[in-house]
Amino acid sequence: MVIDTQTGRQAAAAPAPAIELRGISKSFGPVQANKDISIRVEKGSIHGIIGENGAGKSTLMSILYGFYRADAGEILINGAPVDIPDSQAAIRAGIGMVFQHFKLVENFSVLENIILGAEDGALLRPSLSKARRALMDLAREYELNVDPEALIENLSVGHQQRVEILKALYRQADILILDEPTGVLTPAEADHLFRILRNLKREGKTIILITHKLREIMEITDAVSVMRRGEMISTVRTAETTPEQLAELMVGRKVLLRVQKTPAKPGATVLEVENLRVVDDKGVERLRGIDLTLRAGEILGIAGVAGNGQSELLEVLAGITTGTGSAWLNGTPLDLTGRTSDGQTRRESGVAHVPEDRHRRGLILDFAAWENVAFGYHHRPDYQKNAIFMDNAALLQDTAAKMARFDVRPPNPRLAARNFSGGNQQKIVLAREIERNPDLLLIGQPTRGVDIGAIEFIHQRIVELRDAGKAILLVSVELDEILSLSDRIAVMFDGRIMGERLPGDADERELGLLMAGMKGGPA
């Protein structure tokens, strides 16, 4: 039992939990996102909520922050039932939320973002000077240093996150909810965040940490709740559980952590990259001279914290963005800047690409499955009836065959992509890209938002493609995925490759240091 040291009078009786949810249910149409969820979060504790994508964590937190209304159930704060129809009510109840995607006004200063919605009176000046003083106190107390006058758009991701925490604290939040806070942070930034969280806990704040990273749960939480398919499976004390047990609870069965594969038999060089550089439209250099070689029949895994240039690497190789430097595919130079640096030309030369974000890039959600199978290959001769018209009948047939081979469910080529589950959507993309028999497959976050069953299927297909003698460049922020699939691992940090390791030799601590840029460096 965690005793609240701040308010001794409550400690005498059994202290009311900071938050108690009773029987929360929420449906979106036919989908039940939360089923009869009950949970108690002790005051002054760090409570983890863990579960796969789509397990219902985010919906639950959105109910708590007044974004959705529960269909049934009750919310109690400090033992008293509360009604949370909107975010205002949540703030009044002492709840602060740090979203995965920050809710900041980019061209406002830190100070302006902090007072927004919490101003004192109708004029700004007094609010701003009051907030400036409060900010200095908070910075001292919790190691939350940020320049109050800086514009958000000029701050690093880690600092932007601190602004979000400051926003909550400035609103006198006693309960802080953080949704996947470390996804975009380097290990060092994550460590700093955890120090802040511990400081907050020491001051009696209650913290809910939503994550799918077991390591974080083990490191910092006092108790952990596991969610699966909209249900609360179990709540345990962190000290009394193991990562293996949690993983099993999350998935509902024993997890196959390693992919079955034989050692790679690398052949001829397929891709060679030299001094590859990419500057984004804000003028920031996102790739700072990448050199790499990839051979037929091997999987090169790129590890790294999100936002260190992996996306840019995939996109420049796929012809989506332009860059400088040189790259050769099967000995032929790739056009990185000119007229032929586009997705279509790349596909013609044997490059397939499964993009990181299938909703934004990989699919057109309003298009039917068959149109999505044509997508990117719509100019291929076998899809044309004649010089003018496309052969829609042939396409439907082709799609049905691909869907059968990749076990896409439901196997209906006329259904809009939007109506498939995440795993089946990914299978459609994969079927389209793999079945063209490319020499090089660029694949980003292959199993993000994909259910467990489909993960195994997708991993197997990737290994099969390797065994068929294809070269595969794999980008993933899931270190486990990199470790289990790759034949070689390259670690990226700040637009550079910090080092290369073999999966057998790699120890996770060392990879972590490389990912943080604390070790290694461009060769």
Binding site: H353, R360, R361, A374, I388, F389
Partner: protein
């Protein structure tokens, strides 16, 4: 997961919107002390009660098919072309340039040439905003609005200072040659023995417009370019991933859109006035927006919506003739149609969706 059947989305929702627009228009007529039922009767008999009425209805419908298709094609690419008015104005200039530059032996030769001229001028006028959007990121809605005004000023200048025949006080071009007069509907229908009013301006352009509807349908749903246009309209990042060039698609789409709007000139400038006059477009470019919205951007829907608006236009003119209700009633109806089928679409759609879901659950 289907929210409602396709037919409901394609027909029921626009029909309900239209009904609401008509009911409100009826209330407006009541409010100004006229009888809506009587007004409707006059409109119906005036617009489709005689072959004379039909002739005007179809003449207007021809204009609206071209401008409606123009807006619809752009909608498919996610572009909102408000510039139909200016592009049609320039189309008229194209027709006049072609027809006044040579002495044409026969309308059958002149028509394709004039159509090409109209399409080229309209496309050129759309090309500048398209280029500015694709290369410089200026919002195409604002630029096309601006280009409508610039087109009006340009035409005004040309008609007053350049194209006006010597001695004429009228700001309009010379008449085109007598050989270029297009066959009217009564001549065409006369060939198959159907009697038709000789006084109405509907002409062979109607068939060109219908042909354009079919061509646009084939373009959008059956060709590679159409596929790319639709893909680009749904998602630009995905299109870039697929190797579809946003610049090229923006340009192609707007060239086609502007060309279609420009081609309206073969109907009003060549077919009806037989010379270029000030403000020949008469707002048809804007009605194209209502037509495209009402027709759900589908060429078949555009065709039907264009005929509906042709009916409203002719009916409105008759109404103004026989009652004290001015022609502007049609502008009000047009506004309400745009409002309910476009901006307030969700207001109509969501209850219909809900009704379908409830009904579906009960029958399941």
């Amino acid at each position: 997961m289907e929210r409602m059947p396709k037919w409901a989305d394609a027909f029921l929702v626009p029909l309900i919107s239209l009904l609401i627009a008509f009911v409100i228009s009826g209330l407006v007529i009541l409010a100004i002390g006229e009888n809506p039922v009587e007004a409707m009767r006059i409109m119906v008999s005036g617009a489709i009660g005689s072959s004379y009425g039909w002739g005007y209805t179809l003449y207007y419908a021809t204009n609206f098919m071209f401008t409606g298709l123009a807006v619809a094609v752009a909608f498919h690419a996610g572009l909102f072309n408000i510039g139909g008015e200016g592009q049609a104005t320039l189309g008229g200039l194209g027709v006049a340039t072609v027809l006044l530059s040579f002495s044409w032996p026969h309308w059958a030769v002149a028509l394709p040439a004039a159509a090409v001229g109209a399409a080229l001028f309209g496309a050129a006028w759309a090309a500048i905003p398209a280029w500015l959007q694709a290369r410089r990121g200026s919002h195409i809605v604002i630029t096309t609005i601006m280009f409508n005004f610039i087109a009006a000023a340009l035409l005004n200048y040309l008609l007053v200072n350049v194209m006006r025949p010597a001695g004429s006080m009228d700001p309009s071009s010379a008449r085109f040659g007598a050989e270029t007069v297009l066959p009217r509907l009564h001549e065409i229908l006369g060939l198959v023995g159907i009697p038709f009013s000789r006084a109405s301006p509907a002409n062979i352009s109607l068939f060109v417009a219908l042909l354009a509807c079919v061509a646009v349908w084939a373009l959008i749903w059956r060709t590679r370019l159409g596929f790319q246009i639709r893909a680009f309209g749904k998602s630009e990042p995905a299109s870039v991933y697929a190797g579809i060039s946003p610049f090229r698609i923006t340009m192609y789409t707007m060239l086609i859109s502007g060309g279609l709007a420009g081609m309206m000139a073969i109907n009003n400038v060549m077919g009806e006035a037989n010379r270029l006059i000030m403000n020949a477009v008469e707002g048809a470019g804007f009605i194209g927006i209502a037509v495209a919205l009402m027709g759900r951007s589908h060429p078949f829907g555009v065709c039907l919506a264009a005929i509906l608006f042709g009916f409203l236009y002719q009916g409105g003119a008759e109404l103004a003739l026989w009652t004290s209700i001015p022609r502007e009633l049609i502008v009000v109806i047009q506004a309400l149609v745009i409002l309910f089928t476009g901006a307030l679409d969700n207001m109509v759609r969501l209850p219909v969706e809900r009704a379908f879901r409830r009904f579906g659950r009960r029958s399941a």
